[in-house]
């Protein structure tokens, strides 16, 4: 696993930064200074792809060591305890529940509420639990549209032939939600999936009993650009290109080359994995505390890059011309966070999905005081 120092800016002045040691809060869910016996952990998936569950193995051989220091009491992907076993556990008896996936069905809600009751700490693990994730792009449609399209118009839930009504599959929620919109979340390990270094950082903190303040996000507060080895020189955006239209220079900043890289507004912590692979960052670690809304922050960053190359009055038309080359704004700027950053009605969201910038709820002319309608 990577050195935790790298991902955890010790002594950083940033208010979101970690504190090396936290005294236990009275009456809080905060753990344990040091675990007397092997701490009990649960790992659960809701509307998820399973990548978060597999990501634990990505820390390599260290996982054998980590797993030997904990007791897995519930982890459907890897272990056999059932829901009845979880229900039988006393409240607060699990030290930490790591929950991944978007909250998509009624059953997801029941399960995370159950885990919240049983666990001292709940961690939102991965981009879906953190922000809603890729599957929450489904909020661009209504539940009925999704069901109709997937299972056919006229499809209705029901039990298996001869089975009681209660055996019908659970209903979908009207929208996909991040974990924090359903239960209280103590910590977040972000990413799609979380990078090995951040997973290691979490377990180091957890197993040593030195957890940061509740609310901490296990990633850098500084932007991904800070850890990206590409060189940034021009700081001018002359055109926008899409990844399949350009074989980028291996050394130069992708944004300088016209690729929409979300590095400037996204937390570091992955060693800029995608830019290093020649592809732009799509923002899976979530926005930096400074960026707030990643779409708005990115649009203003782009606008300032465009303006930098222009002078006086001519700046405005040129800016529009370049920014109009952006397609699929929501998919590009809010790929992992529709329910967190775009709490709009499906109709409004849909209006922004197709075609170019103009009908989008995200302003194509940022910095002129118009904010996305209805956004928090």
């Amino acid at each position: 696993m990577r050195a935790e120092d790298e991902a955890r800016p010790k002594g950083s002045p940033d208010s979101m930064g970690p504190t090396p040691y936290v005294a236990r809060h009275e009456n809080s869910a905060s753990p344990v200074t040091r675990h007397a016996s092997r701490p009990k952990i649960a790992v659960y998936w809701t509307g998820s792809c399973g990548g978060c569950d597999v990501s634990f193995l990505e820390v390599g051989e260290a996982i054998v060591d980590i797993l030997s220091q904990v007791e897995i009491v519930f982890w459907p992907a890897l272990a056999d305890p059932k829901r009845e076993d979880l229900e039988a556990m006393p409240p607060g008896s699990i030290d930490v529940a790591l929950i991944n996936g978007t909250i998509r069905t009624e059953e997801n809600v029941e399960m995370v509420e159950l885990l919240r009751e049983k666990a001292k700490l709940v961690v939102a693990y991965g981009a879906c639990a953190h922000l809603g994730g890729v599957p929450s792009l489904a909020n661009l449609s209504t539940r009925e549209e999704i069901l109709g399209e997937v299972l056919g118009e006229g499809w209705r839930r029901g039990p298996p032939p001869g089975g009681p009504e209660e055996d019908a599959p659970p209903d979908l929620l009207p929208r996909a939600l991040p974990l924090s919109q359903v239960v209280r979340v103590d910590y977040t390990v972000p990413g799609c999936p979380p990078p090995a270094g951040l997973i290691g950082e979490f377990f180091n903190a957890f197993l040593s009993g030195e957890m940061p303040e509740p609310g901490y996000v296990f990633a850098k507060a500084k932007a991904l650009c800070e850890e990206c080895p590409r060189t940034r020189e021009e700081r001018v955006l002359k055109r926008i290109v899409r990844p399949h239209e350009l074989l980028p220079d291996p050394e130069e900043c992708l944004l300088d080359q016209g690729l929409i890289c979300l590095g400037p507004v996204t937390r570091g912590g992955c060693n800029a994995a995608c830019p290093q692979a020649g592809m732009p960052c799509t923002g899976c670690l979530g926005p930096t505390p400074k960026a707030g809304d990643p779409g708005l922050a990115m649009i203003s960053a782009l606008a300032s890059l465009v303006r930098a190359g222009e002078e006086g009055e001519e700046a405005i038309p040129k800016e529009d011309e370049i920014l109009d080359q952006l397609v699929d704004l929501i998919g590009t700027l809010y790929k992992y966070g529709v329910p967190t950053f775009c709490p709009l009605s499906p109709e409004r969201e849909r209006a922004g999905v197709r075609g170019k910038a103009s009908p989008s709820p995200v302003p194509s002319q940022p910095g002129r005081g118009r904010r996305k309608g209805g956004a928090a």
């Binding site: 792809c49 059932k82 978007t102 089975g163």
Partner: protein, 483 residues
Amino acid sequence: MKKIVIDPITRLEGHGKILLYLDERGGLKDAVLEIPELRGFERFCRGRRGEEMPQITERICGVCPEAHHLASAKALDDCYGAEVPEPARLQRELFYNAYIFSDHLLHLVFLGGPDLLLPEDTPRAQRNVLGVLQAHPELGKEVVRVRARAQKILDLIGGKAIHPVFALPGGVAKPLTEEDREEVRGHAQAMVGLAEKMVAFFHEQVLPDPGIQSLLLSDECQLPTHYMGLVDGEGAPNFYHGALRIVSAKGAELYCGPAGEALSLIEERSEPWTYVKFPYLKELGWKGFSAGEDSGIYRVGPLARVNVAERMATPLAQEEFERFFDHFGERPVHATFAYHWARLVEMVQAAEDAARLSEEDALTGAEVRGELGQPGEGIGVIEAARGTLFHHYQLDGEGLVERVNLIVATTHNAAGIGLSVKQMAERVVREGELDERLLNRVEMAFRAYDPCLACATHFLPGETPLVVEIYGADGKLLRRVAR
């Protein structure tokens, strides 16, 4: 009526529960695998940028993102009429074989492994990867070590091992360096070494077990279905590309031809009690949940691929392939539990092929992007670890997604999995009191398929013909709608 619920079913990818309905005398009335999840990728892929699809559809499944990533890229190659240059194709194929190796290994040791490598009376709390590591510490640690090396290949070529980013229409993101090749070569050789050890271990410690023998050979564990998979020009399985071959339960060739065209051979039906759909061969039709030569139900994945193949592509895999068919003395092999063994055969080929590809001169060539034409319609077909995967897109003039159709491995197998679960439930109900051990055996029936229920419920049906039956509260069929 008595009901037994196994919820959630475990050591697989995604959500599922098994419902066993028993009559007054304890006999099995019905056994159902219900999939209680749905995310709806079908809707929200529309309007996205085409070149983003490899990075969106891979979020259908984090266990096999590589399969979606490359099936998507292949569909995009077709959409743009692009010829993929040799260095890019080699990068993709090498990456893909490393994935098949890693995914099969994950299942053989961590997911399905506890059923194969631990005594059957192991309590529920220990029947997991840690149990395996304790029972077989040396092999277990080496598996973790070598799997990490296979993941390094994915990371190095793909940019990220889970949810890779490198594939684009017409090629890949960037050239590989000679330094990269050196590293990859070392990892691939370690994979071959482990594959050999796994084969030896399997023959010494797993296969001789009478319980395993019974699961492989007893009549009640056979499920005669048709089989589908990609083969190369020599008739060996190829995971990345090839012609699609379908053979019947009796071994007759039903189709062998361009993979993309095979989409038109398939129809699907939905049921009210599950979010998964059931594909079948259109020509044979849906005959209910029953197997056999006349049924339209077919299976995909490791067992299907060795059944449609004439040989394996590499020497060590060929040896194991021969031992496999010698053991059963028939083709096709219908034992559901033989999926595990077929997985091992394939894992050997994937390791050997990765090692061979790592030596190819052109692997480090600078030409990694083919010329792109105007965006349009395209189909990509690939063998995911769990079976044949189809991606079918229509892009508009700007290269944005208009329509998507996708049929994934576990969906093809949905009916077969249901039948295997029922078969096993019948067997264990006869054996007596349904304790933890016997109920796990019911789960072993689906685990043989290494199912990915996240995949199965998040596919994008679009144009695939679909049949919906609507039942009244009394269970009577009210209406049948076909699209």
